[in-house]
Symmetry: C2
Subunit: 287 residues, 2 copies
């Protein structure tokens, strides 16, 4: 892509939590200097109208094809299944030469989709490591990009100048570290840092029925279950799409938990203290 970011047209498919946050971050670029033109499509007309009235987007499209035909870069901000359906349905409508990327929390199935995409376009799968407990466009302002991690899982077919263009745009949006890796590596790591954590948070709330338990809270339970306020349909998709790596991670966690349980049940103070100290040191090294 040879068009400078400030002069390109960005199309956002899906103006939910992340699409909305993206539109707002792109809008901030324009406050400083010339910025990209922001187009958006969403199946919800009210969201489109609100976003247009609030000046968060420049143009609203009820017809996705009309938006795609004018977008130099497209961000697919949809749940995994909707993303795949949308892209296949509208494949012919994308502008020739367009760079396409997505924000889905799983990358193997998106990589397969990108691999088979039109040859005159360049689909670079990605995953911004940002979000919020509450979903939807109405909560988009709760999402903060500055300093957050961003994972890209480029394909061999992706053109280096397009990867460089996308990285530059991601940095302008405020993200911190950008890590390029394979889809399989992403899905294996994310199964741990994100999905396993969400399953644990859900299981922790699931095993306590007393709504008054927070009177006894000192911050730990609150920290561990903040993410239990999850978007159930989206996380169901993410868990099931990435079932293999996730089940392996749950199994490893169960094993560690069992070992701690044994140390406690057997009253092995010295071994328990040593293990807790090792955990503390490892967590420090993780930074």
């Amino acid at each position: 892509m040879k068009i400078p970011v400030a002069e390109c047209t960005v199309g956002i498919a899906g103006l939910g939590l992340m699409g909305g946050a993206l539109a707002m971050a792109l809008g901030k670029l324009k406050e400083k200097a010339a910025g990209p033109r922001i187009l958006a499509h969403d199946k919800d007309r009210t969201v489109l109208r609100t976003a247009r009235e609030q000046g968060i987007i420049d143009e609203a499209f009820e017809d996705p094809a009309a938006m795609l035909g004018r977008s130099d870069i497209v961000f697919l901000c949809l749940n995994p299944s909707a993303l795949i359906r949308f892209t296949k349905t509208h494949m012919a409508a994308f502008k020739s030469g367009a760079v396409i990327t997505d924000m889905a929390g799983i990358k193997e199935s998106v990589a397969a989709l990108a691999e088979g995409f039109r040859e005159d376009c360049d689909f670079i799968p990605g995953h911004p490591m940002a979000g919020a407990e509450k979903g939807g466009f109405a909560n988009a302002a709760l999402v903060h990009f500055p300093g957050k991690n961003y994972i890209l899982t480029p394909l061999a077919r992706n053109r280096p100048e397009n990867i460089a263009f996308l990285k530059d745009l991601i940095r302008r949006l405020g993200f911190g570290r950008i890590t390029c890796t394979t889809a399989a590596d992403h899905d294996g790591k994310i199964a741990f840092t994100s999905q396993l954590c969400h399953v644990i948070a859900a299981a922790l709330v699931d095993c306590e029925t007393d709504a008054g338990i927070t009177r006894y809270g000192g911050g730990s339970f609150e920290d561990l279950t903040r993410i239990a306020m999850l978007n159930a349909p989206m996380w169901t998709e993410l868990f099931l799409e990435n079932a293999g790596p996730l089940l392996a991670r749950i199994g490893a966690f169960e094993q560690s938990l069992r070992e701690f349980k044994t140390l406690i049940a057997e009253g092995r103070a010295a071994d328990l203290e040593k293990r807790l100290l090792a955990v503390r040191e490892r967590r420090s090294r993780m930074g």
Copy 2:
């Protein structure tokens, strides 16, 4: 106790993270108006000297008996085993009529100690639900009391006016809800809100050896493992002292986790989504 808070002498046994935070919070009372006189004992002379030089305490005592003999109210800010040892060793040194309380995270063993305490003193066990990831006096400023929960587990022998005096002092320190309950109820609830959460955080760090994993973090792993930076000797004591309730809580959590694992392994999307939605609703009700 008929002495107003502003005119009483407070003795702090153990000037670590919590004892230090208590001294600082008591010191703030004095900034506004007349406040209590703050005495402290610690086995670490350097800590005592620093606290005295910084004006965090009024008087430092290397000899605990000398401090105890002058204290109208004593806060025992020691790990459970040290607390029990200290109290038994120095039982004769407490001032007649003194109110004594502690800050330990388990209450059954402290209740037994308090039950057998001198009849001319009044030992009311307590647990402030505040803390910090890092321990020791040097990190005491990281602990914030305002709005936090405080649990008291008074005994039948405690005098109502002394419980009222202690509650008043706790409120002045900035704490929010004060809950009075039994030691057994405290230990059962805390096994969930605090100890189980710490075991989970430790197991989560324990099952991942890659120190670079945080490149793939989006906040969930960070939220769940902040408390993994734990004080290993103290948490070993807490886990083992409260092993019964804690093991029961680990078992219930393992059961919920297994059920989520089954739903994922069997690809039961509708059931999984329903269960996640129920979790979200329950967490909302917990406030």
